[in-house]
Amino acid sequence: MISAPVHLAGERLLLDPSGALFWPSRQILAVSDLHLEKGSHFARHGRFVPPYDTRETLSRLAPLMRRYTPGRIVFLGDSFHDAEGASRMQAADRAALMHLLGNRLVTWVLGNHDPVAPDGLPGEAVEEFREGPFVFRHIGMAGKEVGFEFSGHFHPKASLPTRCGPVTRPCFLADARRVMLPAFGAYTGGLEITAQPIAALFPRGGRAFLLGKDRLYSAAVGPMKHLAAVTGRPAESLQPT
């Protein structure tokens, strides 16, 4: 696993190929859009999708704790697929999560799927979390006054042209003001970064980091505001570098 170092607001950050962001100087690990208990949410509505999504997502989180030993973990919202998600957790999964959290500080940024604090889990639930120059929120905000921002919500993914056609992967998307995190959950799909809601937050383009098996693949993204807004189609160049 090779993480990619990036610099934002003078701070050094590590982007992990699993989709997590680590801020070494403050020992903070951030992950977004886990959508835990999405499976049981579907089951409640008569769609018995495999109940292993929570287990799978947590098993992806565990090695990050070992690798970075964070002092604080920030969940960037939509940690559970719905407000009752936390209370539906299987006992074994709940125990696994408690074990992962351990003695760390835990911050649950609230999302649109989980607008309330998770039932019976440690940590504080907040609309926004501020630390140093950064603000952690679920949905990124447009405009200059928002400060340096980490957000999730949109499940960004990008396609890179290769010799055998384009390859699509979830990705980080970053510019000089913000980093948008990919969705971390096992049952989370993605939205193309050229889609209007994402492109609108990156009017001057930025850089995409596609998740790979054990590294990230970085590519420059040109400004996307013109065509994308009209047609929802790719607008400018995406250059691998």
């Binding site: 109940p51 049952y187 993605g190 693949y217 250059q239 691998p240």
Partner: protein
């Protein structure tokens, strides 16, 4: 007459007859006679056909003889198009004869009053049974037939089929307990043998290509000379191109129409009606016209491109001239030299009365899951009874109790080893062990999702400010730029934009138009045709029937290299450009060759031969590499089909597609649900994620077992690779040449796409990223400083011109 005798004796029957010949009427006649002798109210005879249009047409054609016999009968259809008020009336007061489709029948059987509707049913007629057996719609129908026999114990079944390779398997379909010996097998005397010729282009015979466009002038001449023709093609793309080519040649303004499965239903009905009314001289069509209404007046059938299978060719040829005493006239249009040989092989097979095709595969567990829920919606049941009933269906005769129980558990609460969904159960058991549905919303959900046809993600095509023309696959649209041209619905269209509902197009435009391709629309060469092709190739005595250029081509091959042997395997190795080519003449069909190509390149990788790419045609598999391939025998050893293959297949997009369909049919994923229509893309996404999670955490789950079982039958390519490797063992002929051989040319000019497996994606990404780094001397490489946009967009730094290496962000079919 024999059909009448079977009816008198109360026996079920299977009538096998070539297309035409009044097969359908023969199926109905006993019922009409019975109703004449002994008129009674209530449903007497049920007719099931794979096509809605066929049901409607038969209803019309049946009314005439019924009236002539002076019968006071109600003959009605029930399909998805039947208005709600008529459907309600049909439930209260069923007609004596009802014509329907498998889907509508399943819906009827899931109703609580199904027992009253079907209790007195005397006869069920299953039309085009050969087209249903072995498909998921067929599985669904087989289960319904078994249920009908439970509701009406005296029920007689009558199957109607075209000529098939496995009549016994179809006879089993007509028996209550799947025992073919209890069914009277009636074979109609074959009509006059069809006259099948070939049409070659006046000019040069093409080396490659599959479209057959260079022969269109000759085809057009045939259309002019004949009254009414059907021009069959192998793919929708081919039908569009042929239609365009014919239209350009059409100086006489012949009325020629286009018919394929992606056009709107209205458009297709219009073409069919015009054909029936004798207003058309020709229709260019795909498999969309393989089945359907008898038009009687078709004078000739022209098949463009090699037919790929004998049964299919016969079906198509039979569409011409439905009179038994006159031969059907047909002509084949080979698109390239190999296809000339294949067409010759097909004509010989027809002349010898050979029919190919695989026996129907066992029924799918996904369809069973849907059926179990439908039966629970009808009435509570005991699992033992339902299991016995299901085993009575031919497609499920070999179903194990374990598979049945696991499927039932899946329907109840997902059936996962990790419990947790008990409180969300859809079914519950009472104290006696009967299984009930939990509530009316379960039945509602079932009825919304009933059916076994799962569409690939499609987008409607709409003329700007005009009508909808049809549908294309979403991924094709994502490769278009505004202003691009493509051919669709017989016209050249200009892509304008994508709105939320449809692809907006306008007429005309400049530049070379593209043609939408549709995934998996091409059939691979059948095993028996492949054998005949090898026979012709290996023995010059068979060449007499071949045209001069093909004979010369083969003679040249014999001189420069050698001919592919009947048994064994010819492998040629030669340098070309800066690469080494390896061409294996396997003749096992495109699917098999693509899989084989993947396996061989993987092995070459291990041997350090630096494989660069491969492609598979219907006839050969070709690999190119950086170094000269040595130890060719090792590349084709049978252990190729070991664990690596398993792993690769599990990763392949093919298996993921299979899983998506199974999960949808089994009710895991929405097909549609009140108030929230999912787009195909979203659905395909979550199916992939579910597949990955399930594979990791419960690899033996019933849905994965169902997926593997279906792949084992569907991917006959694996079985074919197995038989090839066995055939080749110890008999591999390696020819080292100093240049390309005549027989290898068609493969090398073939447009082919490498087949990338999931695990190769990371390597491709790394390569793409490294390539740009190399091209720019590392100048553009990422240093960790985040800026807005591309370097030029933000900082006026020194940079080489960008155009030369600009890459467009590509959006296409998502791979994961």
């Amino acid at each position: 007459m024999e059909m009448l005798a079977a009816a008198e004796a109360g026996e079920s029957a299977l009538l096998i007859a070539p297309t035409g010949g009044g097969k359908t009427l023969a199926g109905f006649l006993p019922s009409l006679i019975q109703l004449h002798r002994d008129p009674r109210p209530g449903l007497h005879t049920l007719y099931v056909s794979p096509l809605k249009a066929l049901a409607v047409d038969i209803a019309r054609n049946l009314t005439i003889p019924a009236e002539e016999m002076g019968l006071d009968l109600r003959i009605e259809t029930r399909t998805g198009d039947t208005p709600a008020n008529r459907r309600a009336r049909q439930r209260q007061d069923p007609p004596q004869i009802l014509l329907t489709t498998p889907e509508s029948l399943t819906l009827l059987l899931s109703l609580p009053d199904a027992g009253e509707i079907f209790g007195n049913l005397a006869c069920v007629v299953i039309d085009e049974i050969h087209a249903l057996a072995g498909t998921k719609r067929g599985d669904q129908l087989a289960l319904c037939l078994s249920r009908l026999s439970t509701l009406a114990p005296g029920l007689r079944r009558v199957g109607l089929s075209a000529t098939v390779a496995h009549p016994k398997a179809l006879a089993a379909w007509c028996a209550r307990d799947a025992d073919p010996d209890k069914v009277r097998l009636v074979r109609a005397a074959g009509g006059a043998a069809p006259e099948i010729g070939t049409i070659l282009p006046a000019g040069r015979l093409p080396w490659g290509g599959h479209m057959g466009l260079s022969t269109m002038p000759e085809v057009y001449e045939r259309l002019r000379e004949a009254g009414v023709s059907i021009v069959f093609t192998n793919t929708r793309a081919q039908s569009e191109l042929c239609f365009q080519a014919l239209w350009r040649l059409n100086e006489d303004n012949l009325p020629i129409a286009l018919h394929h499965g992606s056009l709107t239903v209205e458009q297709r009905r219009k073409v069919e009606a015009a054909m029936a009314a004798g207003k058309l001289r020709a229709v260019v069509a795909t498999a969309s016209l393989d089945l359907g209404i008898d038009w009687g007046a078709v004078d000739q059938v022209i098949q463009v491109g090699a037919p790929k299978g004998v049964a299919r060719l016969l079906q198509r040829v039979g569409r011409a001239n439905h009179r038994m005493d006159e031969p059907s006239r047909a002509a084949l249009v080979p698109a390239n030299r190999f296809e000339v040989i294949e067409c010759r092989a097909a004509i010989e097979a027809v002349a010898e009365g050979e029919v190919d095709g695989d026996p129907p595969r066992p029924g799918g567990l996904d369809v069973l899951a849907q059926h179990i829920l439908a039966m629970a919606c009808h009435a509570p049941f005991f699992p033992d009874d339902l299991y016995a009933e299901v085993k009575g269906a031919a497609a499920y005769a070999t179903l194990s109790r374990r598979d049945f129980d696991d499927t039932l558990r899946f329907v109840e609460d997902g059936g996962y080893a990790l419990s947790g969904y008990e409180r969300f159960r859809r079914l519950f058991r009472d104290y006696e062990g009967r299984v009930h549905v939990r509530g009316p919303q379960v039945a509602r959900q079932l009825r919304m999702n009933l059916g076994t046809i799962v569409e690939t993600p499609l987008l409607k095509v709409r003329m700007r400010g005009g009508p909808i023309l049809g549908e294309v696959e979403e991924w094709f649209v994502s490769t278009l730029e505004p202003g691009d041209n493509f051919i669709f619905a017989g016209q050249v269209l200009r892509y304008e934009r994508l709105d939320p509902m449809a692809v907006i197009v306008s007429r005309g435009g400049e530049g070379e138009p593209r043609v939408p391709a549709y995934a998996g629309s091409k059939l691979p060469l059948s095993t028996s045709l492949a054998l005949r092709v090898r026979e012709i190739l290996s023995n010059p005595r068979h060449w007499k029937a071949l045209p001069e250029p093909v004979r010369e081509w083969l003679a040249m091959q014999r001189k420069r290299s050698e001919l592919p042997p009947l048994e064994g395997l010819l492998v040629e190795v030669f340098p070309r450009g800066n690469r080494w080519f390896l061409v294996a003449y396997c003749f096992e069909g495109r699917l098999a060759h693509q899989t084989l190509g993947m396996l061989v390149t993987r092995r070459m990788e291990h041997m350090g031969l630096g494989p660069l790419g491969f492609l598979g045609t219907d006839y050969v598999m070709a690999v190119w590499s950086a170094f000269e391939p040595t130890d060719v025998e090792h590349l084709f050893e049978e252990d190729l089909l070991g664990e690596e293959l398993e792993e690769w297949i599990a990763e392949s997009s093919m298996l993921r597609r299979t899983f998506r369909n199974i999960a949808t049919i089994a009710g895991l994923l929405e097909k549609n649900h009140p108030g929230q229509e999912k787009s195909g893309r979203q659905m395909s996404m979550s199916a992939d994620l579910i597949y990955d999670v399930l594979r990791k955490h419960e690899p033996d789950h019933i849905l994965l077992r169902a997926t593997r079982a279906e792949a084992a039958f569907g991917l006959t390519d694996v079985a074919r690779i197995g038989s090839l490797l066995e055939r080749a063992r110890g008999r591999i002929r390696v020819r080292r040449l100093n240049r390309v051989s005549p027989l290898a040319v068609p493969a090398l000019i073939e447009e082919g796409r490498e087949w990338v497996s999931g695990s190769a994606e990371d390597a491709l990404l790394a390569e793409a990223v490294a390539l740009v780094e190399e091209a720019t001397g590392g100048e553009d490489s990422f240093t960790g400083d985040l800026t807005d946009g591309t370097p030029e967009a933000s900082a006026p730094k020194e940079h080489p011109p960008r155009q030369s290496r600009s890459m467009r962000l590509a959006r296409r079919r998502p791979r994961r």
